[in-house]
Each structure stands twice: as C-alpha cells, then as structure tokens.
Symmetry: C3
Subunit: 161 residues, 3 copies
C-alpha cells in the first residue's frame, strides 16, 4: 500500500516537518481543511526539511534566479505534500488534484512565472501520474509575499467521499 509515500521515497525525496514560523507569527487557520470529499490547501511556501521557510528570499528575477525559483516551487510541493500527509494520514486517499494558484514574488516586467511554477507541477505529475495529478493553474506575479518567500502556492484536491 502507501503507493504515493513509497514513490516519494523511491525518488529520494523527504517531506518536511510541520511549518516552523518566524517568532511571533500567529497563523489561526489550518494548512489543510477537508470538507466532504474536497480538500483545501492554504497557501504554502518552500520549506527546508526542519520546517523553516526556505530561501533564497525576495523577488525572482532580482534576488532569486528562475532556476532557483523552480527549486523553490518544487520545495513548496513537498511542503504541501507534508501537510496533506499529516492531515489525511495517507496520501493514497487523494483521488484527484483540481487546481492550484501559483504565486511568484517578482517585480514589474518579470514574465517567467510559468517556468518557476513548473517546479511544482512537474513534481506532482511525477509523483501522482497524469490522471490523478493533472491540475489547472495560474502562475502569476505578486507584489510581495509573507516573510519575503519567493514562491507561494495554494491548491484544491479531492479524496474519496
């Protein structure tokens, strides 16, 4: 069983522990919320394995390269998978990804948001396959993101009813 967890291990990936926020930060909402068969995922940023927010920080295109942004989007996927595993118990309960909203911290004139958010999409498709993992998305430029993270992603999925 635990096909998805096995797949993640086989890929040499590790899901980070729960988010460790900067001192004084209160987040009065759940990272993942199940309502019926729908699974809502709060905006997540990239985490290092100890749960702290992962850098480099700042704007992609200024402080962070597109390639680094791709890696941060991949880390954001792992961060979300960690939250999903803690909430659902088993990632195999996921029957379908629906849509994600991919946010890139960047300045006016930056236009490579899709190349950054591909770090997320590529990982999810590799882990879940195209049938379950396919999702619609936007990949767009934000004026700023919390704690100067360079990438933030929110999502909606389905589990068995």
């Amino acid at each position: 069983m635990a096909d998805i967890a096995d797949k993640i291990s086989a890929m040499g990936l590790v899901l980070p522990s729960g988010p460790v926020m900067p001192a004084g930060v209160v987040l009065p909402f759940p990272p993942v919320l199940v309502r019926g068969n729908r699974v809502f995922v709060s905006g997540h940023g990239p985490q290092d394995n100890d749960g702290t927010l992962a850098g480099p920080f700042g704007q992609v295109g200024v402080d962070v390269t597109v390639d680094e942004g791709y890696v941060l989007a991949r880390k954001t996927a792992l961060s979300i998978l960690g939250s999903l595993e803690r909430e659902l118990g088993d990632l195999d309960r996921i029957t379908a990804w629906c849509s994600i909203f991919g946010m890139v911290n960047c300045a006016a004139g930056f236009g490579a948001q899709p190349a950054v958010i591909n770090g997320f999409t590529d990982l999810i498709i590799e882990v879940f396959g195209k049938k379950v993992g396919a999702h619609t998305r936007s990949a767009v430029g934000m004026a700023s993101l919390p704690f100067a993270i360079a990438v933030e992603i929110e999502a909606e999925l389905l589990i068995d009813g």
Copy 2:
C-alpha cells in the same frame, strides 16, 4: 434562532448595508452566488456602516499601518457577512467556511500580510466557532486594488444542500 445574527449583535457589531460604489462604477456581477450547496463570494473590501468603502486607503506598510490593516480586514469580514445575510436570508444556513483569498495592497518587500488578514480570520472564528468557521487561506501582496482599498477578500462557503 438566528444564532449567528444574535452572536454578531452580542459582540456589538453591525453589518454594513449594501455596497455604495464610487460614481460611475458598474459591477455587473453578484456579491454572493449560490450554486447547489456552494456559496461563492466575490472580492469584498472594507465598508463603513453606510456601505461606502472604508479607509485608510493605499498600501499597507506605506499609507496604512499593519494594525489599521487588521481593522480593515475585520471590516471586510463584516462586509462579506452583510452580503451573505442579504443573499441567504439567514446566516445560520452556513454549514462550513471553506477557503478565502486574502489580498493586501502593498509594496515590494512588505511581508506582514498574515497579520493583516488575521483581522478577518479572527472575527470569523469568533462568530462561527472553529468547526464551522475554520477556513484555509492565502494572505498575499497585490500591486494594487480597486479604488485604492487596502484589503480585499474573496471566499467560498457551504450551506445545507
């Protein structure tokens, strides 16, 4: 009954009247739309009790303090509750909050969006309790918002089928 309306009154809060837009502004869409048991809420800004958009206006971190932003997010929650009451007739029909998208008008480098949007989340949890009121969210920085409002929030909820 009217438990939620009673709770709002007991907290000394008043829901603002319908939105009063600046002259010439046409909004050809509903503030709230029910599709089956799903309730979609258009992006709302903070309102004063007479329905006009509430200030201070501009960017949080520049023109508006984080504490003022918190109050504006709280006023945005009341604005949304007013729209929900007008559409649903009775706020007790709400069985679950799902997710919200919290938008803060701010400049590059601002990172306290979560502290601003907590003004919304804290109020909803206080009014609806954790079971019904819990919601996922993102709290992020926008380049600009309509009419220079400092906070805008959209949401999805559920009612009985």
Copy 3:
C-alpha cells in the same frame, strides 16, 4: 442545437484556436480540467484568432489604456470559450458559471481593475444569459503576468453531472 455556439456566431465572434506559446515555453498542465461535474479553467490571457497572445502588452494604466484592457478581457473570455469548446465538445454542456479571478497587470495606485475585467463579464453574460452566466469575481492588480500579458483570468464552472 449548439445554442451557445450559434449565439457566438450571431454576435459575429470567433473563438481563437489553441494557444500558441512563445518559443521554448512548456505548459505541463491542461487549459481546462473536468473533475466530476466541476470544470476548472487555468489562467488564460487574451489571444488573437491565430492563437498567439494578444497585445497591447504591459501594464494597464501605463502601456495599455483601460479601454484597451476591456477589449483584452473580452478576448480572454473568447480564449477561455475556445478552450472550453475543445475540452467539452459542446458549450451547451455548461450549466453554470461559478467564479472567476480577474488579474490585471498594473502599477501601484491603479484602481480601475473592475472596468477592465468587465470586458470578460459583459461578454459571458451576453452569451450565456444572467442565470447560467452569472459569476462572482475579484478584479485585482498583479505585479506582473506571464509574457507581459495585460490581463489573465481563471475560472470555475459546472456541467451536467
């Protein structure tokens, strides 16, 4: 039948062909995804009839006028209708629009996002009528959008189950 397609033709409108992306751009996700009776639409930009992204490009309020932005939002509606027709086969399968997220590429201080996104909403209401076409929305300002497009819109709809 094909009532909606007939209506579009009668209005003198043409749905653009599939998106033609700039060289080297990989979009590893579907423009439209059906999950049960829910239809998710990825962020779309304005297209010309040959499928290429439509200008003018850049920030509304700086490089693009509000009236031009309105036309771009209208073209974005046609772009989305094209994707929906390719995925669903028949636009008459759409039973309800739910919500859209309207993104305008603009600078700090710009506040006419609703007037821009009305180009989308007005077209959808004209084509589908108020009962099916009504949708909630936000219309907000982004720091930047992919490939310097001036408008991007994502959406959720329903089809018969």
